[in-house]
Structure formats: C-alpha cells, structure tokens
Amino acid sequence: MIGLASGIALKHLLARRRQSLVSLSGIVLGVAFFLAVSSLMQGSENDFIRRLVDNSPHITIQDEFRNPRLQPVEQLYPPGAIEVRRVKPLTETRGIRGYPQILEGLRTEPFLRASPVLAGQALVSFAGKDIAVSLNGMIPAEVNDVSTIQNYMIAGSVDALTANPDGIILGDALARKLSLALGENVTVTAPTGEVHTFKILGLFHTGRADYDNTQTFADLKRVQALLKRLNRANTIIMKLDDPQRAHAVADEIERRFGYKSVSWQEANEDLMSTLTTRNIIMYTVVSAVLIVAAFGIYNVISTVVLEKQRDIAILKSMGFRARDIRRIFLIQGVLLGLAGSALGLPFGAGLMIVLMQIRLKFPGSSDPVPLPIDWNWPQFAIAAAFAMGAALCAGLLPACKAASVQPVDILRGAQ
C-alpha cells in the first residue's frame, strides 16, 4: 500500500508543479538557513568551549573546603543530637596542607597532569609606577603540561624560568604600561613587605586585557619565599586527557582529599547556561523559518485535499480505508520534506562554505579569523529532522481532513 499511496501522492504533487515548487523552495531555503545558522552557532560554541578548555585548568584544587569542617563532637554523634555554636576555627596558614603528597597521589592517575601553584597579590614597581598584579608561582618544567601560556608568548619563553629562577613573565600590556621590555629588571613587593627583583624573561599576549594587565608568572620557590609561605601552594591545577570527564574526576578528587575541587564546567557554569539559553533562542529563530515553510506545505496539501474531494470519495468507494487516504496525504508532506532536505542540505553546505570565507577580527584576537563552522553530521541530521518534522506536521491536518471525507456526501453533491 505504501507504494501505491506514494504513487498517488507523487502524481498529486506533480499535477500542481508550480505550487509544489514554491512550497518546496520554502523548505529548501528553510533547511539551508537552519543548517548554516545552527552550524555557525554550534561552531562558535565549540570554539568558545575549546578555548575555555584549552586556556583554563580542567580541574582546580583550591585551599578551601566546600562545606565547613565538622567539629569532632559532631562527627562523634549523629546530626540533631547536638548543636555547636560560636565555633571559631583555628587560624591556619593558608594553603593546601601536604600538597606534595596530594600531587603524588594524583600523579598515579595516567589520564591527568597536575602542578602546584602559589598565587598571591603583589606590587610591580618600575620607574615610580606601582601596579597591583597577581603573582603566580609555578614549577617552570611543569607549566606546559597544565597551561597554554606558552602558546601566547610573544617574546622569550616559559622554559627560560628553569634556567633562571629569578625570572618573571608578564603580559605585554603590563610591560607597556610600565615601559618595560624583555631582559629588563622589575621590582616586586609582596604584602609581607618582602621585595625581590626579577628579570623579565618572557612576554605574553592572550588578547584578554584583564589577563594581560594583571597576571605574572615566576618560579614557585621564589614566590613562596616572597610571600613568606614556604613549602605552600594554594592551588593545584590539572589537565585531563578527556576534558569532558572533569566534573566526575573533580568530584572524586574532592571526595578523596577533602579540598574543594572545581571542574572547568563548574567554574564556568554561568557561561554554560548562557550558551544553553543562546542555543534555545537560536533554534527557536531558525525553526521559525521552517515553520513558515511548513505553512507552504500545509497550503499545498490543503489545496490538494480540497480539490480532490471527489477523487477521495471515489477511492473510498473503491475500498480505500480512511487510513489509506490519510497516508496518501501524509506522504505528500514527507515527499516535500525529503525533497526539501535533499536539496536544502547541499545548499546549506554551500552557505556554510561562503560563511567560512568571512574573516573577522574579534575583540581579544590579534588576527582576523574565519567564522567557526561546525561540519559534524548532527547539524545536518538536526536540520533534516526539523524539516521532516515540519513537513509531517504540515501534512497531518489536511491528511486527517481527507481521511474524514464521507464519500456519500461528495457523490450526492457531484451527481
């Protein structure tokens, strides 16, 4: 019956070539724009997440606890049996206790790379100017395993810190502000009053103004001495082979070591939810194009149903069931959807190629870059599925109307 119904459906559409072509072109354009816009949006999202994942640690262990530590008495007795108030925690030197042991434990996992960081505030002074910065003490030999800062070096290199522990790496914006250049010395003052002179061994440019103005990197030991926090680190940063596992791994690390462990997903939750909202808006807007196109299909099939009342009555008098008639008109929607997808997807791919030729200079990037386009098959599948769904929905109402035609009513009127 499918073959027969398809044959009748096709004949109906071909008999109204012009109308069918107009509604088909609506679907073709709808699919093409849907595909081009959604792949652009998805591409930009992927690009954004890639940058996020590349440029930030996948997991950060911080020197704090997610929940206040339980008092021994609370651990001893079940909750509710006792209430402790006005507890003042002991004053401790901030930092992760026993970080070398934690690192040792982490390094047994082959899928991650971890390195300690001691970050603190400092003043960079030169030629009478003082600028507050964030001073990050790192192990130079491990920096490239857990950070992409090396990719943004415009002068010098991170490796130079290994050879000269009294070196520092600054953002180019900060260096410009202080009229400093590679190889020059700069004075760094810690809140403890300790002062140390560092030699500038590298300049980086990430394109993010706040980062380039405020972040500095130096050898961990030197920073520990400057901040008077010997053998301390207040952060452990990690990179994973599979960044998507960060959430689960962070939970496991937090459970194991107690310190707050934040995955990149958690750290950027607000951005991720913004992306979800953006996707909903995008799909709503591009779906509207297909919904408008679906009205074209509805129009064609409704017209066919209206014009074919007599033929429907005859088919029913021959012995066609209501569901056979419904199928004929639904297939018309499916045929238009299929043809629309078949023509719309290559057209959309063409639009994607055109979009890829456009190069824009985004804020924060030094060179014009092509628009990011996602070429993965799900984009094509989603566009085709939307088109088919819209076409089927558009065909459903007229098809049901056709199925409900009472042949006697039509035949009486036609005689």
């Binding site: 088919l315 008098s317 021959m318 012995g319 066609f320």
Partner: protein, 226 residues
C-alpha cells in the same frame, strides 16, 4: 434459484438535523447472482441513497443488509471498505476517473489496493479488461484524452477490476450520447447475463429499465413495486 448476493430487510436511512429527513424507508430487497435489476423513480425518490446503502458506502439507520450471506450492520468501517474492495464495483453517472492516472492505471488501482497479484499481472489483467471493453488502444491515455463513452467504459473496467459479484451503477448512461449509452447498457447487461454478476442500475431511462430482469420503482424513499 441462484445464490442471493444482496439481502436487505427493512433498510431505513434517515438524516438527523433540525428536521429529520428520510432518504430510504423500510426497503426490502433481494438481488441474486446473474440478475439485472433497475431502480427507477422520480428525482429525490431515494434511488441513489438506496444504491449507496446496498454498496456499503452509507450505513442504514435501521434494518439489516447482508452481502453474499455476510451480515454487514455490525462491521467496522475498515471491514466495510474491505468488502467494497473485493465484492462491490461502482459505476457513477460521471466517470470519476482519477485525472492524473492513465486509463490503464485507473483500472489497476483497485487491484493494487487489494494487493493479491504481482504488479505485472495486475497490469496484464487491467489491459485485458480494457481490451474486452474495446479500449485496447486507449490504455495509456489520460481521462481528458478520452470521450465520455470511453471514459465510462474505463470506469466499468475499473469497477470490474477485482472481479466483484455485485455491480452498482448510478445513472451510468445519464451523461452519454445515444450510441455510447447503448454500448454501456449492453456491457452492463452482459455482465449479469453472461458473467453471472448481480447488477443493480439506477436509471431514469425507461428503455434501459425495461430491459432489466426486474424493475424497482421508488417514491418518497419507499419501494413501491418490484
């Protein structure tokens, strides 16, 4: 006595509305295999309504109808459609061929829906039917390329496609010239006499009715004589 194809008892069809309209009232009728029955009467007397009831296109408000010994009153729509497909062939005043399909394709449609034969055999049988009705050369033509008489013969071929026992014709010659009308009349009579079909024809044509084995006269929805 040959087997009864249709047995109707007290068939009544009323249309509900602000005013109840009675289309057919208490019709009792039996048509046997090989019988050619004509239904006559003035316009609005209920001839076509009775024909639609006999052909299972419409459901009676009350009464019983059996087709080839099978009670139809309690059957679902799909079952009725199945019976129409296999047991009943309709011919209308206008040929009502599907305009996008050729004569051959129009005749093939009921067979394709029944789906009992492979497609080449369906095409061969459709061609054979057209040939038997003198339309061998018109098989590939679209309905608009055929004359009224030719189209009506294609419609008869379509009605015969699934080899039904019952042929119901509603004013089949009402729209034809004299020669074409005589031709169609002869074909329908041959179907009853030579091929053993039960043929019921609604007609205003007195000569056509006179040639029938039995004439049923209707007035105001009732059978007044047979």
């Amino acid at each position: 006595m040959t087997e009864a194809v249709i047995e109707a008892e007290g068939l009544t069809r009323r249309l509900a509305g602000e005013v109840m309209v009675t289309l057919v009232e208490d019709a009792n009728l039996t048509v046997h295999q090989g019988e050619f029955v004509a239904i006559t009467g003035a316009s609005g007397s209920g001839k076509s309504s009775l024909l639609y009831l006999l052909g299972l296109l419409d459901r009676p408000t009350s009464g019983q109808l059996s087709l080839h010994g099978r009670q139809t009153s309690s059957l679902e729509e799909d079952a009725l459609a199945g019976l129409r497909l296999a047991e009943v062939g309709f011919v209308f005043q206008f040929h009502f061929l599907l305009p996008e399909f050729s004569a051959l394709e129009n005749v093939m449609l009921p067979m394709q829906r029944l789906d009992r034969l492979p497609r080449p055999e369906i095409a061969a049988r459709a061609a054979e039917l057209l040939d038997s009705l003198g339309l061998a050369g018109e098989a590939k033509k679209l309905p608009r390329q055929l004359s009224g008489g030719q189209s009506q013969r294609v419609a008869i071929a379509r009605a015969l496609a699934n080899d039904p026992l019952l042929i119901l014709a509603d004013e089949p010659t009402g729209n034809l010239d004299t020669a074409a009308s005589a031709n169609v009349q002869r074909i329908l009579m041959d179907l009853a006499r030579d091929y053993g079909r039960a043929v019921v024809v609604v007609t205003h044509d007195r000569d056509f009715a006179a040639a029938a084995d039995r004439v049923i006269v209707m007035s105001d929805g009732r059978i007044r004589g047979q």
